[in-house]
């Protein structure tokens, strides 16, 4: 089992899509939302995912294919 912390950023067209619910339903992943900021035009959600490593990888691949941007919660760490 592995725990991974990620940030999902949603564009306007995806705000109404139940992406996180589907991630928990279609994959063997427990999703736990820790912090979020969602408006009608834009949103991000910081969450913790529990599951087998391969399953989390598969799930995140699916989330990305839906058009959601996925980042580590540290956001960009490459600095000037």
């Amino acid at each position: 089992m592995e725990t991974r912390r990620v940030k999902f950023t949603f564009v306007e067209e995806l705000i109404k899509e139940p992406v996180i619910w589907k991630l928990g339903r279609d994959f063997e992943i427990v999703t736990n939302i820790r912090r979020a900021d969602v408006t009608d035009a834009r949103g991000w959600v910081i969450l913790e995912l529990d599951g087998e490593r391969e399953e989390i990888d598969r799930g995140l691949e699916w989330v990305e294919s839906q058009g959601v941007r996925i980042d580590p919660i540290t956001e960009d760490i490459v600095e000037g």
């Binding site: 900021d37 035009a41 910081i46 540290t74 760490i77 490459v78 600095e79």
Partner: protein, 426 residues
């Protein structure tokens, strides 16, 4: 157990989540376990107040460590290669060109590895050593890499430095000379970012901008302190700062506010404005949309030291702008080069691309009426131009090639300039 005395003997008391306020002991940690918000160093300000004075600071060393009471590590154990207390110079020529009567340049090119990153890395490496890490690591587009490699050398630590494989030659050599493990990563910017995030989880290293980030970021405050002291213990009216992650921007403001809280300066509402390159301007874009939500971008600009598409402190930079009645602007790559040349030709300072962003950004904000003619304006120049020669080389006039005779010299000069200077009277 690590000897935490150098950290504990500072006025730093704990780490605090910027979102939910949850407190943690001083440790190498950067994320709140409750809400995953970023952690920040919190100090015993009452203790500092009793201890600090202008005279006390003025009698300190001519480096950033004169402000050690406001940093999270004891100065006696600092990894110090002579960083900080860089010149703040009046810029009358540039001021005239831009229509500003009280313009100053904070020239942070004059740090040991020629960028402001020495400030943050001096703190990060000092703390990392106290926490008994043996490896100092970073992911960088150049300036940070140079500074981490240099400080690790001084501290006797191993350095592991990750850079994109298309980096400017000056920045590669500026790291390699200190003999770190220098890793050029093939792949997109996102690939480099992801790799380093994973490495940060896997190896017990002090990644300066991951697990020791709360301490690292505190080093930037010294730019705010210095400017106030150098203005005769007075805060600027308006700061113009380059923005990448947004951390420097917020910390300069924090530094100025701290001096006011401690009664070392009067508070008169310093305005904070930031500049980015159009090819990577997620903070400016959100500001212009009047939103606090950053839309991540894929960087594409010659200002590589500012090329952070998903800035960790973007939200806090926007908040600082709002609180301080500041603003943000973005300039094209052509304007970046114009800005570098304008600063060089008017004030004799050769800045890297981030400096070009600041100068052209300042010009734009002045033309738009956002910067007032009589404001005491400080433009922060954070890195030296020799590191990014590629950016300006194509547009500079090549030297006159002449034979070693007066005739040849005059012929070529006449051809280029259309006339000859007056000769001495015989």
């Amino acid at each position: 157990m690590p000897d935490l005395k150098p950290v504990q003997e500072s006025f730093a008391r704990n780490l605090r989540c910027r979102e939910c306020g949850h407190e943690y002991p001083l440790a190498p940690s950067n994320v709140c376990e409750w809400c995953f918000g970023p952690l920040e160093v919190f100090y015993d300000y009452e203790g500092i107040k009793r201890h600090i004075s202008r005279q006390h600071i003025e009698s300190g060393p001519p480096t950033m460590w004169r402000y050690s009471d406001l940093l999270p590590v004891d100065a006696a154990t600092a990894v110090d290669i002579g960083t900080g207390y860089t010149p703040l110079i009046r810029a009358p020529n540039l001021g005239r060109a831009l229509g500003l009567s009280r313009l100053y340049i904070k020239n942070d090119c004059q740090n040991p590895t020629w960028s402001f990153k020495d400030r943050v890395v001096s703190v990060a490496s000092s703390v990392a050593r106290a926490f008994e890490f043996d490896t100092l690591a970073c992911a960088s587009t150049g300036n940070l890499a140079n500074s981490v490699a240099a400080h690790a050398a001084r501290a006797g630590m191993r350095a592991c430095v990750f850079i994109p494989s298309d980096l400017e030659q000056g920045k590669v050599i500026g790291s390699a000379v200190y003999s770190p493990t220098l890793v050029a990563v093939d792949g997109s910017y996102d690939d480099v970012n992801r790799l380093c995030s994973e490495l940060g989880d896997k190896y017990p290293w002090a990644f300066v901008n991951i697990n020791v980030r709360p301490y690292y970021a505190e080093g930037s405050k010294t730019l705010g302190y210095e400017v106030c002291e150098q203005l005769g213990w007075r805060a600027p009216d308006h700061c113009i700062v380059p923005m990448a992650s947004g951390s420097l921007f917020t910390k300069i403001y924090k530094g100025i506010k701290e001096l006011a809280w401690l009664g070392l300066i009067d508070w008169h509402g310093t305005r904070m404005s930031g500049a980015q390159a159009v090819g990577c301007s997620p903070i400016t874009e959100a500001y212009e949309r009047n939103s606090m939500n950053i839309r991540p971008q894929k960087p594409d600009t010659i200002a590589k030291s500012l090329a952070i598409g998903n800035p960790a402190d973007g939200y806090y930079a926007l908040k600082t702008m709002k609180d301080s009645n500041g603003g943000a602007t973005a300039v094209t790559d052509e304007e970046v080069v114009e800005g570098i040349r304008l600063l060089a030709e008017t004030e004799g300072i050769f800045a890297e691309t981030a400096g070009g962003v600041v100068i052209s950004g300042l010009r734009k904000m002045t033309q738009e009426g956002h910067v007032g003619e009589d404001e005491v304006v400080v433009a922060f120049i954070t890195g030296a131009g020799l590191k990014t020669q590629e950016a300006v080389a194509p547009v500079l006039q090549p030297p006159l090639h002449v034979a070693p005779t007066i005739e040849s010299f005059e012929e070529k000069l006449q051809a280029r300039e259309g006339s000859l200077p007056l000769a001495k009277a015989v």
